[in-house]
Symmetry: C2
Subunit: 346 residues, 2 copies
Amino acid sequence: MESAIPQHLRAQCPRQRRVPDDYTPPYPSYVARHAKTVTRVVMAYFGVQFRDDTPAQLATAQTALAHLDADFGAADGPGHWDRARCVDDTGAVNVISIAYWDDPSAFDRWFVLQQQWWSDDARLADGIGYFTELLRPRVESYETLFSANDRTEGIAVLSQHLSGMVKEHAYWGGARDRIPLSQTDDLAPAGVPARVAIGGRVRITPHDNICLIRSGQDWTDTPPEERMMYLDDVEPVLHKGMRYLRDEGVAIGCFANRYMTVLDEQGRATDKSFGMSWWTSLAALERWAESHPTHLAIFGAAMTYLSTLGPAAKLRLYHEVTVARATEQFYEYLNCHPGTGLLHAT
Amino acid sequence: MESAIPQHLRAQCPRQRRVPDDYTPPYPSYVARHAKTVTRVVMAYFGVQFRDDTPAQLATAQTALAHLDADFGAADGPGHWDRARCVDDTGAVNVISIAYWDDPSAFDRWFVLQQQWWSDDARLADGIGYFTELLRPRVESYETLFSANDRTEGIAVLSQHLSGMVKEHAYWGGARDRIPLSQTDDLAPAGVPARVAIGGRVRITPHDNICLIRSGQDWTDTPPEERMMYLDDVEPVLHKGMRYLRDEGVAIGCFANRYMTVLDEQGRATDKSFGMSWWTSLAALERWAESHPTHLAIFGAAMTYLSTLGPAAKLRLYHEVTVARATEQFYEYLNCHPGTGLLHAT
């Protein structure tokens, strides 16, 4: 059993973690281990917002996505990216391409290219919405967790390898205990987000220590019985929680929640999904997770599932939770409806 | 909003509590405030174990309870006591009289009297079981919590008053954060319990930092609709969790769990119940509470209930959680079956 916090990021006088030293989690979990040379990463969410029952919008969206594909393939493109889709509370389709870099300077060079297309006045006349939501956190300020150690997702695809079994999981407060910065910092929010309109674009100037979670499930490899267990017992509970956050989250500090289906290269739905949500703070996410009946039910279902099936489970769960300073965030919205993403924050 | 930890018990350099300073709980709760002169209390559980389908045993038990009533009324008797009943996993009835003192020296004088009856050889021939489970904790090492502030139970009956609304509740880890000693001590268990037979009696020599919880509900004042909500939605979930702990708790560090019905002065069931359980440590109790599906369901049901009804709720919830050093504990069993209480610990 090892600590989720790698040796080289351990503090001299850390805050006490929530579990005693002899704590043994009820099932195994693993975390991503980056090369020590990686000190900062980029997590970029590029969104296209449109109505898929409007042929002109659908066509424009497809052109935009094809353009983004080409950009991703260019020099200094992301080390990993994937694409997913959700329908938001207005009925608009949001296709988000999520790209990861572990070399911020490569990203900076690449972003110049992407911004040529993005800042072109033609975008304002495209008739569809676009958004960029982007974090560039230090490795001290996020954590990952995987229920199986033979496949990675998200930022972990850029890691060297997954760890052995870690101690800090399967209890409330585990995410905080896995974030290296939490050893010496309470990760409290500071400041107030603001809105700046630039031409037809809206930029959000955020506050310190906003929190992003991407939390996914992959039922690709489940045999029929386990698949039924996931789809019948777990997914409906998860869906209910995701809907609650999407529709009522603002009151509890969740600016935006998207429950997304991962798409394959042809744009078809896969057997993978994830929730991604923006929170005013890690504490706000913790409070929801540990007290709202919908998430208690999700956690209870997952605990039972993983404790029952153990390593035999073919359902794969993972997540990444990031806390970012104001200077590590960038949000820009173009022709999006007012309930999109961080537009909710102001 | 005030801290659960009274001013005079606050540490200079406390461990950080689990919630940020601006945390606001979703519903009000209150804690018992003792007079500053109270530094240590006694919580004594006097049990009588018998078969109520055996007339001779029933008669002997009634005689024993009447004797105890008389003792409680004698000089230096408890400041408060109540009585409750459960049927254990062997089908035996356990009637427990729970007595509280806030003056340990008064208890010591009283206990001499009670021990005359207890240590009489006649007890060995009574044909029924007896037990004493007793803690004498410092006020730094336990906490209380009440969902309403106009009625007290348990040790809180001996307090001066209930506090105003406290901050440290409605999140996992709240009980630890309310125990003043947790500011500077991790309350970890140390040592191994042992068993000593003395004549026909068995004494358990315990380890340091054993944990006792008494967690109760009182639906006396609920109007019909709320009563149905409690009895139909909450109680069955609670019962399931209590049964799990009773029958399978040892594997997770719960030595014994009793789900008890409070009795009135005539020995009849009331609309009050409580669970009481002995744990190897506070951490073991925390792990069960926050991860076992039965307790997640209990917590979720209670959160919904109290957040929905708020101060209008007529269901009253309370608990007391104590962590005690080896020298603050005393357990003795006489003619009890081997699965009784702390006999499970060795």
